[in-house]
Every structure is written in structure tokens, then in C-alpha cells.
Symmetry: C2
Subunit: 489 residues, 2 copies
Amino acid sequence: MEREEDRVETLLADGTVDHGPDHGEDTPPVDETRHSESLDEEDNTLKPRFIRKVTDALEADDQEQVYNLVEPLHPADIADLFELIDGEYRAPLARAINDLLGSEVMAEMNDWVREDLVDDLEPEEVAELAEQMETDDAVAMIEDLDEEDQQAVLAEMEPEDRAAIESALSFPEESAGRLMSRDFIAVPEHLTVGDLIDYMRESRDLATEFWEVFIVDPKHRPVGTCMLSWILRAPRSVPLADVMKRDQTLIPVAMDQEEVALRFQKYALISAAVVDDAGRLVGQITVDDVVHIIQEEAGEDALLLSGAGEGDINEPLPRTIRTRMWWLFINLGTAILASSVVALFEATITRLVTLAVLMPIVTGMGGNAATQTMTVTVRALATNQLTSSNTWRMIVREWWIASANGWGLGLLMAMTCQVIYQDWMLSFVLLLAMILNSINAGLSGVLIPLGLDKLKIDPAVTSTVFVTTMTDTLGFFFFLGLAEVFALH
Amino acid sequence: MEREEDRVETLLADGTVDHGPDHGEDTPPVDETRHSESLDEEDNTLKPRFIRKVTDALEADDQEQVYNLVEPLHPADIADLFELIDGEYRAPLARAINDLLGSEVMAEMNDWVREDLVDDLEPEEVAELAEQMETDDAVAMIEDLDEEDQQAVLAEMEPEDRAAIESALSFPEESAGRLMSRDFIAVPEHLTVGDLIDYMRESRDLATEFWEVFIVDPKHRPVGTCMLSWILRAPRSVPLADVMKRDQTLIPVAMDQEEVALRFQKYALISAAVVDDAGRLVGQITVDDVVHIIQEEAGEDALLLSGAGEGDINEPLPRTIRTRMWWLFINLGTAILASSVVALFEATITRLVTLAVLMPIVTGMGGNAATQTMTVTVRALATNQLTSSNTWRMIVREWWIASANGWGLGLLMAMTCQVIYQDWMLSFVLLLAMILNSINAGLSGVLIPLGLDKLKIDPAVTSTVFVTTMTDTLGFFFFLGLAEVFALH
């Protein structure tokens, strides 16, 4: 890309080297004093006072003031600023800081906030931003646009950049193909360390930031990787074949990003080669792009289990309401099912209304126990710790936990019940019901996610409904049913 | 260029080249064919068939067979193997593969599994492993040992390694000081690119893997960092001061690992300098160590919210039971509180037992709605997306969601209730109770985590109890209370 060539030019000509700020991933030098005035050092977030200053300046339409306030910020903090201020200030802020709204800022910005912003920009402005960005970041920005705007933006771009982005968009969302950057360094096996260094010194349009060099065979298939630190420390005459690491993790271009993240983590990768179906090197994924995914995918489970969807606090309100209400609606179904079980025993309850008082305890305890087991199972599945090799051990384990909890807490409650109601039969029924429901909870909590996973359904999304149905419905059934059987009144 | 050629000659004279593979972090070359036989390529986990082979060989006490099976595995997969086989096989496996049980394997292994294993090893064996490891990994292994064993192991170590580990252990657990590695490259500002390359070529005992070089002032305070890729591409004559990036994120040695992880993520760092109180460079943290933390910290919330503690499936059973039962015990308290509210209205229920049938719907829906809001709030707090700057916006947002859900689902249920029970008053009470409890749920779900966070209590650990107490207790109270008020019978 243009700016990159320029840089290398100056580098080789008169040795005057820029300090990164004008390109790619780098960050502008920051004047610490002004920095600390804007950033809360403790938790590294922007201070409310600073944000008020910005919004006040925006209110006063004092663009210069706004620019001066924002200028010393790190791009990631500028992105945060856009997320933290209210919606109506975002477009004005973007206009006020114009050239500060660089590619890194857009790359760091929350999807929804960025989408808002991009809608306010002209296609050529978006195209200009996209051209400065690494392919993967550009794709992240453009893939959210609707078909028509996408075309408009792509039309404004340099042919080669457009080609790169179009090919990226041709891969499924959340796949390695969307994630990978096409800027990487690949050299033939026969080079020596010296050749490689000279090649890198001389070539114009190389990636500005890379951590490993890929060595490829004549068919452009990766045969090894070489860490820059090794290249720097080996004598020039050593053949790359001798310093490179042959064992490497290759990422198929269609691999899901969650799987990519797991491999980066498992093998502690800094960068990895992405290969097409023919095994040819087509791109690289670097860890800094994966870090966000690891964080999202890991945090996702909590949100999915709770039915909060993406749980993104910047998501448009109507969309959030739709997601959450739909979930509550489904769970209402399970609640109705549970209460219809109660309805079956109306007669029993009328005879002994205390049953109505105690029944929430049986279902509540079951629900909590099931949630514990379910969450552990879902996490273990998501992190590949739970595989068919140790499934059985996991089930047995949860059975023991459930029994222990059932007996322990069941006895406790039964005694409390006896103290309060002086009714041996009732206390006995409560004990039995709690033991049964605890075991029911433990087994549902582990078997339902496992079953869904086997059926290739994401257990995080669907487990809760089934599990609570089991614990509530059966909970009421055990308790009221036993009460009926033992003719309590 | 000339100068460089000469220098290489001399280097070649006594040139000892390190071919990465024999070194600390590196991974043995893998014979792909045998690899694929052991690994399930789809999800990159060990095949059950392979694991059975290993355990069978262990049963048969055929150590050579075991060794040959395990030998081609990547250290991370060997670590997985230890986690996947049953407890009783672990010590025999360790003995069978002896030298394959290297530092990387131990570093990758689950804490509990490693602890088991370490207990079976002699102090000097542990010391030997620790000496091969990066400081941070060694610390992770040793910090789990009890005081006495720690001393025994440390006593067996080389003075300098011991010193490094003892100083690491002097920092609080989960702090940057424990995480950081003491192997890093720091050079004075006045060097040129050429000087640096020569320095790295000549010095023998440098870290084998590093991605950035730190430039320090005479007081050993970091003044900038330099990516290897820049060094490789700049002419030898350029002073480091001109290629280095002055703006950098410094990690105070006492910073909590969760905060470290957030900064790596926010600023897309590959490595960062760790500084002591005097601002002196004392270590570096690299992203591959942070990746595990990001994953843990992000996944943790789901587990903590469910009261499953660490939710580690390798945790000793008694410990797991204790954690979970304690949580269920506390929640039993809230359940008792809720049911005592029901007890208040026994008379009302006796007059109209249908109330007992419908009441779980009110509390159930409230509980689910609250969980959604609570989870979103906890995640937003954990990821620094929710700060005092946008707290108010968040509360208002949740208020709207809660009202929408309350009205929508309340009306739905009220109509259903009317169809079934033909009782306008009852349906009206149900509607009112569901709206009130939905808003109660929404506000508790956002205010309770926020309040706990303000009190510096981890909202993920404690929110659930308070929130469910609110939704259950008030849920029953709204519904039955209103029924009483409107004299339903």
C-alpha cells in the first residue's frame, strides 16, 4: 500500500526513519502528562471528567478544543471515547477530530458504534480508511455494511486492496479467511539468513509488522517458520532450512475463528500460516487479532447461557429487546409446563397449603445445582477439556457431587422443616424430593449440554431452557407427587 | 553492508548457531503421519482410540510402547493426555515417558493435574524441570507446592534460577511480577541498529524467543521498544533512538493479571515491559502468557455467576463439593426467605389455590430477566466497557428493556390466564405482578452488580444471590400481596 512504500523509501535513502505513527498498527507518541489527565491510570479507562470536557466542547461546537483534547489519546482510547459518549455526539466528534479518526481507531471500535459512524461517512472516506487498514480490520469494517454500501465503498478502492477484501468477503463469516491478513513474508527454502535479511531490507512493499517469516516450497506450500529472533542471531551464511522450525500449526482457510483461537492458545502461537485447500500459503493470522476472539468467545458463554444474546451494551435497543424477550417467552413456556404440574396437585395443596410454601425450595435448589453443573460442562466443552475420552468420568463426577449436595442440604432442610412444622412425614417427603431433584439436576446439567454438543447444537445457547424445564417440572412433581403418595394433609 | 560481511566471517570462525529446536520454548519436529493417527484433526483433540492404546500399554506395563506412542506428540498434547487419562495412570505415564515430560509439557498442564504429578516427583527432579522453564512457568509450577516442598525444590536449584523464582514468589499471586519472564533484551539508547544486531549475534545466553527489544536509559528505565521487524529492515547505521517506538505500555510489577490482560488486548501488545516502583525495567510479559489469562478471566464470569467456583473439571472432588454446596447453602437461605413470604399468604392461597399454580411463573420470569441483565452488566464491567461515564445510560437502557418485557409478556400471560381461568381480577393481578417484577428484575440486575463493583466486591461472585433474592421474594410478594389486596377468592 502507498504509505508503506513511502516509508521504506525514506528508510533506505537517507536513513531518516519515521516513528511508526503514520502507518499500520503503530501508535503516536503520547505526552504522558496530558495522557494522565485523560486516563484513569488505575483501571486504564477514560475519566468521566475528561469525557465531560469533550462533550462540553462539542456542545459549544469548539472543534479545535475537541481536537486538542483527543489528539494525545491512543487510538484504542479514541475508540473507547466514541463508545462512552452518547450517540448524538458521535458524528460531531468524528467531524471534529477528522484525521485522528484513523484506521486503528476504527479497528478498535465496537461494531455497533462503528456501524453508526460508517453510515455517516461518504463511501470514499470509508474506502480511504479501509485502504490504510490491515485486510482483516478493513473486512471487519466493511462486512457490516449492507450489500449496496459495500459495493459503493469497494468501487472507491485501489484494485489490489479491493481484490484482497473481496476475496476475504468470499469466506464465511467468523472463518480464518476473514481473519487472516494478506501481508506476510514468505521466502523459498534455499535462501540463507543473509539473503533473507537483504531481501527484507530491499523490498518495497512488505508488511510493516511481522513476527515470523514463512518458508515455502516451489508450490508455495509452507514447509516451516522462522522466528525473527533466530534470524537476527544466526550468521548470514546459515541456510534458512537449518534455522527454521518445521513443525508448525497450519490454519485451514475455512476454519472457524473459535477453533483458530483455541489453537493459538494451545500452542502459544504468535502468528500462524493460513493455507487453502491445496495447502498453499494464502495469509497469516497474528495473535493480536486472535486475542479479541479468545476474549469474546470465552465471555460469550455467560451471555448465551443467560439468554442475553451478544450482550453488547452498544447494541440498538429494539434489537436487544427482541433477543431478550424471545428468550423469556420460550422460558415462559417451561414455566407454564412447571405450573401445570402444580395444577395437577391443586387438591393436595388445598389439603396442606404448606406444600405451596415449601415447593419453591425444592425447585430453587435444583435450579441452582443444575446451573452449576451446566455451566461447568459448557465451559469444559468450549475449551476442549471435555472430550469423548473423559465424558464418562465427568458424568460420574457430577453424579457424586449431586448426591452429596442432595443428601447434605436435603437433611438440613428436612430438619428445619421438622422444627417449624413438627410433621415427620412432611419433612421426610421434603428430604426425598430434594435428593431426587438434586440428582436430576446434576444429571440434566451434564447430560443435556453433552447431548446438544453431540447433535452439533451450541450447548451454551440452548441448554438452559431444557435444564430448567427438567429441574422445575420434575422438582414440583417429585415433591407434590410424594406428598400425594404419602397422603399428606 | 561491507562491515557486516566482515563481521560475519569472524562470527563464522567460532560460530555456534543455535537451531531453535533444542531450546526452551521450541517444539520437537512432528511426523505428520503419526501425528494424525493420534489427533482428531477436526477439533484438534486426542482421539479416544489413541488414549485407549496408551492406557492399554500402561496396563501391560509396556513402557517402550508408551514412549513410542507419546513421542511424536506436541508438548501441549502430551499435557492434554495427562488430563484425559484417569488419575491412576498419570504417575506410570510420567515414568514411562521420562525425558518427554519436559518443561513445556508441565507448563501447559492443568494446575491440579500438575500438582498431583509434582507430588510424585523428587525435589531434584522438580528443580531440574524448573530450571529448563521460563521463570513464569517455573513459578506457576512451584507456587502450588506447600511451603516445605517449595524450599526443598528451591534448595536443589542453581543460585541464579532460585533467586529469580524467589523474587517472583515475593510478588502477590496473579500479579504481573509472577507472570513476567526475566529473560528479555534491553540495550542502551545510544546503540545503532548494527550494534544491536552484533550484540545479539555475539552474546550466548540471551533469551531464545523475543519479539521486541527494550531500549533503556542509564538508570535502566525503559524509554522505548523496537520491533525486530524494524531492526531487520533498517540500515545498520540508523541509531536505535530513531527506529524505536517511544510510546509504550508499561506494566507495574504489582498490577493484577486481569488488568494486564485487558491492556494487552486493548493495545494489541505482543510483549510489554514490566517496571518496578522506581520505573526500572525488571521483566517482560509476552502475549502467549497473557492469552491463557484472557481466556480464564473471560470464562470465569460464567462459572462465578453460577457459583461453580473455578469450575475446573480436574479439581479434587471434595473441594468441588465444598465450593458448590456452600453456594447452594447460601441460596437455600434466599429460597427460605422467599417461601416465608409465601407463608405470609397461606390464607390467601387456601382461598384460591390457583395462586400457588401461577406464582412460579411470576418469579421464574423475573429470575430469567434478572439473569440476563446481571450477566450483561457483569461482563460489561469486567471488560471495562461499563464505566462511570456511561453507567446512567446503561441503567436507563435496562429500565426500558425491563418495561418492554414486563408489558409484553405480562399481557400475554394475563390473556392466557383469562382464557384458562375466566377470572378478570386474577388475570389483572398477574399482569400487574409480572410488570412490577420485571422492572424489579431489570433494576436489580444492573444496580446490584454496579453497587458491588463500587464496593470493590467482585460482582461475578456475589451478584446472583442478591438478585435472585430480590426477584423471588418480591415476585411472590407482588403477586400474592396484590391478590390479597384485590381480595381474590
